[in-house]
């Protein structure tokens, strides 16, 4: 569904992506993991067209995304730190997004209702706590029935109950055959959800394997242990 070919990006002289090639297919839940500043967010933002890579190709359903915007109709994006116009209220933001992404007859308001955002519609964005802002981001990402969910650190900043609601929603969407792309540091969070692992380090893609493969190869039961075993093996 989404294919990356030899993707490269430099910020000034700092190479952030050093030739990444991989493929993300439908009905998968892919965890993009790696240490801080390994290029996860840059990779995600390249797919969204927010960051323009220096070379390489990204295709969405076999069509190049460069100079295209329509494919973003099929993507729901939840940023790591949601930035919204401070003076707008939650209700205005939701209305605006609905208008901007026009052409939808029905909206997926599960999260919106589960997080009780409809009760604080008049609150301005600048008065919201980090967690509530994350809830707004999540609700917006899921609102337009996209085919692909791109979630940058979705559970960071959410309280355990809200994080659980989000995870259940992700499971539901995955069962509908959608592609979910998550970045995270915390693997334990995603254990029951993830079907493939992509491990990045210093702008390079070290591992892209299914969870089953990883577990069989290492003989470990837990995902986090399996990964650390693999990494140790690679370092030696």
């Amino acid at each position: 569904m989404i294919e990356l070919i030899e993707l490269r990006k430099k910020y000034n002289k700092l190479a952030v992506l050093k030739g990444i090639s991989t493929k993300f297919n439908q009905s998968e839940c892919i965890a993009l993991i790696g240490p801080n500043s390994c290029g996860k967010t840059t990779l995600i933002k390249s797919i969204l067209g927010m960051v323009l890579p220096d070379s390489g190709e990204i295709t969405f359903n076999n069509k190049s995304i460069f100079n295209e915007t329509d494919y973003r109709n099929y993507i729901g994006y939840m940023p790591q730190i949601g930035k919204y116009p401070e003076n707008m209220s939650i209700g205005q933001i939701v209305e605006m997004m609905k208008e901007l992404r026009g052409g939808h007859l029905s909206f997926d308001e599960d999260l919106y209702k589960a997080y009780k955002l409809d009760q604080i519609l008049n609150k301005r964005m600048r008065t919201l706590s980090g967690g509530t802002t994350q809830k707004v981001s999540a609700a917006l990402a899921f609102m337009f029935n996209p085919l692909v969910y791109i979630l940058d650190e979705p559970t960071a900043g959410l309280d355990p109950i809200s994080a659980e609601i989000l995870k259940e929603k992700m499971l539901l969407e995955k069962s509908k055959g959608k592609l979910i792309l998550i970045t995270s540091h915390l693997l334990s969070d995603l254990e029951e959800l993830v079907s493939e692992i992509v491990f990045m380090q210093d702008g390079e893609l070290l591992i892209h394997q299914t969870v089953e493969e990883l577990k069989n190869k290492t003989g470990e039961e837990k995902l986090s242990k399996a990964i650390s075993t693999i990494l140790k093996a690679q370092l030696i």
Partner: protein, 255 residues
């Protein structure tokens, strides 16, 4: 396109600064017309006030507004909306708001006291100057990532065009007095949008004494008809070029 422009305009009209600007323009215009005993004099004093204040407000307000919209822009960029469309809508929204407040604040008094061709040209020039300096504001805010730097740059641009430029030209002319420099000076003078719009209006008024130095040279070089045509086309370029450069940079920017 309309939806983004609508959001931008609603946001700006909610802003108290734009109301204050309208009020300031209205006070300025009414007091200039009531201080002077005839309308032509009032118009001239008002012209100078407008050429000082309108660029200042347009460039500073727009620069700050663009920096403050960074969240809004970032939100839109991840959505299925073309980058061109976001930047152009922002430009149109800002310009429309500034022009509306100029027409309400200064346009209405001018039409009340001086309902003639000169009055209308003054209003049009005010609008053009707003657009030009908004266009420059877009350029400043895309060049400098840092807000303080961008605002500093826009203040410098205003200072340069409204105060320093004429002085520089005078200096050049005195230094090079031995050479036949008039034509060159006229062309250099045309590089300042504020001088240009002053020249257009004064050429209309046919008040050579008020033309100022660059204006006089300009008239001598180009004559009235060509002078107006030439300066209008240059003003048009000033409205478009800085914005086009900023648009190209915006399309290549990483967020």
């Amino acid at each position: 396109m309309n939806r983004i422009i609508k959001f931008v305009m609603l946001d700006i009209l909610r802003n108290k600064i734009i109301l204050f600007y309208t009020l300031l323009l209205a006070i300025m215009s009414f007091s200039m017309f009531s201080l002077e005993d005839n309308e032509a004099k009032g118009l001239l004093s008002l012209l100078n006030l407008i050429l000082l204040n309108v660029p200042l407000v347009a460039i500073i307000f727009s620069t700050i507004y663009i920096y403050n919209s960074s969240e809004f822009i970032e939100l839109l960029i991840s959505q299925p909306i073309k980058r061109n469309k976001i930047w152009i809508s922002l430009y149109l929204g800002l310009n429309t708001s500034l022009i509306i407040s100029f027409i309400i604040g200064a346009g209405i008094p001018i039409l009340l006291y001086s309902p003639n061709l000169i009055g209308i040209i003054l209003i049009v020039m005010g609008c053009i100057i707003s657009v030009i300096f908004t266009s420059l504001a877009f350029l400043c805010s895309i060049i400098a990532r840092d807000k303080a730097k961008g605002i500093g740059m826009s203040i410098l641009i205003w200072l340069f065009f409204s105060l320093l430029f004429d002085g520089l030209i005078m200096f050049l002319l005195f230094q090079l007095a031995d050479y036949p420099m008039e034509n060159w000076i006229a062309i250099i003078a045309a590089l300042n949008p504020i001088d240009l719009s002053r020249i257009v209006i004064l050429l209309q008024l046919d008040l050579s004494a008020m033309l100022g130095f660059t204006g006089a040279v300009f008239k001598q070089t180009f004559g009235t008809g060509w002078g107006i045509f030439f300066s209008s086309s240059l003003l048009f370029l000033w409205m478009i070029i800085p914005f086009m450069i900023s648009l190209r940079k915006f399309n290549k920017k990483d967020h």
